[in-house]
Symmetry: C2
Subunit: 229 residues, 2 copies
């Protein structure tokens, strides 16, 4: 009693998704469309974050959104309300998107004229991290109420994310066991180069720094394309 052991239980998955992802990434690069893969737990605020991001950038960038969900289209409806090009992907029960599914979305959305496309992945901290979608960058949202221990428990998600947005910072006073320092240290342990922004999609707090990053990265991505051309 009071003691416990650690048992390794295991099963198999995975196919040959990496080549498809690399090919899609090359095509998007040639086309000059910056594709982001946005991931989080259910309810961390992906759609609210997207809506505010779109409002702040839609006058300077041509934006498209792919909403992936197992069921329902409430998010696509919300996104479509912002006036940008949007599409809903239903995964038929699947817990993540792979490169082939992303490609179907890209082809249906039509992205040749777009500067920035965001794929809102299925709400899940596990499976989406295992499948390269072909996006240029992985963005993840961790919301304050989920707790600052998540980088300990879902290591791969943090390891593969180029940016982590810590969302719902407006409720930090009521979730006072959440430590900005602890979460930062735990994220850096998984990925020393990760960009971390503390934001609130509800109030707009901290969004300038995130939007600056996005503006800068989109421009750099297209610039490099021009150099290459």
């Amino acid at each position: 009693m009071g003691d416990y052991r650690i048992i390794e239980v295991k099963q198999d998955i995975l196919a040959d998704n990496d080549r498809d992802a690399a090919e899609l990434r090359r095509e998007m690069k040639r086309q000059g469309t910056f594709l982001l893969n946005l991931m989080s737990s259910p309810g961390a605020g992906k759609t609210t974050t997207l809506v505010r991001t779109i409002r702040m950038l839609r006058d300077e960038l041509k934006i498209g959104i792919m909403e992936a969900d197992i069921d329902s289209d409430v998010d696509a409806r919300t996104i479509a309300g912002t006036g940008v090009r949007a599409i809903q992907l239903h995964t038929g029960g699947m817990c993540h998107l792979d490169a082939a599914m992303t490609r179907q979305g890209i082809e249906e959305l039509g992205t040749e004229d777009l500067d920035l496309v965001v794929l809102e992945n299925v709400g899940n901290l596990v499976c989406p991290a295992e499948f390269d979608t072909g996006a240029a960058r992985n963005i993840m949202i961790l919301s304050v109420p989920e707790g600052d221990d998540k980088p300990l428990k879902y290591p791969l998600m943090f390891q593969i994310s180029d940016v982590v947005l810590i969302n719902k910072c407006d409720v930090l006073p009521v979730f006072d066991d959440f430590s900005r320092e602890a979460v930062t240290e735990r994220i850096r342990m998984r990925n020393p180069d990760c960009e971390i922004f503390f934001v609130s999609a509800r109030t707009g707090e901290g969004f300038e720094a995130w939007i600056d990053w996005l503006r800068r990265e989109t421009a750099a991505f297209q610039k490099k394309e021009d150099d290459h051309a």
Copy 2:
């Protein structure tokens, strides 16, 4: 612009887990150990809920806990602090537990003398819903900050859950777009027989009703076993 279409993108999974689950369920029934499968998103409060539940019941029931995580053992350490028998299952990256993995945990934990065993599944609203663990009942936790639209987006999880605990109700005042009525209606749409309890694992609000349910169901489960013997 402003419009969107719905595209069905699909892939394959699944094996023959159902027979293993049914067999494990029969064995636990013969043994008189009530096995619960506890599921939620990351950070919804599974461990905090378990700790409070254990404290309220440990003097009347012999309890065992299996903590499943992809990595880390912070939760098992917390649970072990309550003095009940606990074990940590590492899934080696897997996003859910199946019946065979649950059986390994049961065998390692040793459950013959226990009244109640809780399997804390991987934090994920998608994959755990697809795999019968062999538990007698499925319990899920939805936390208020995640939003009241989750039964629309993760239908299977709500459909297969016998009980939904709506946790973090102490923060309802700051998440005032969360409607108790809307979430109740949406859960019932997926599963009309689902028991719903509004609780706060942090403050203990609403726990009496949940504990009563658990006490009653554990007794009924063991009673039926006696009848059968």
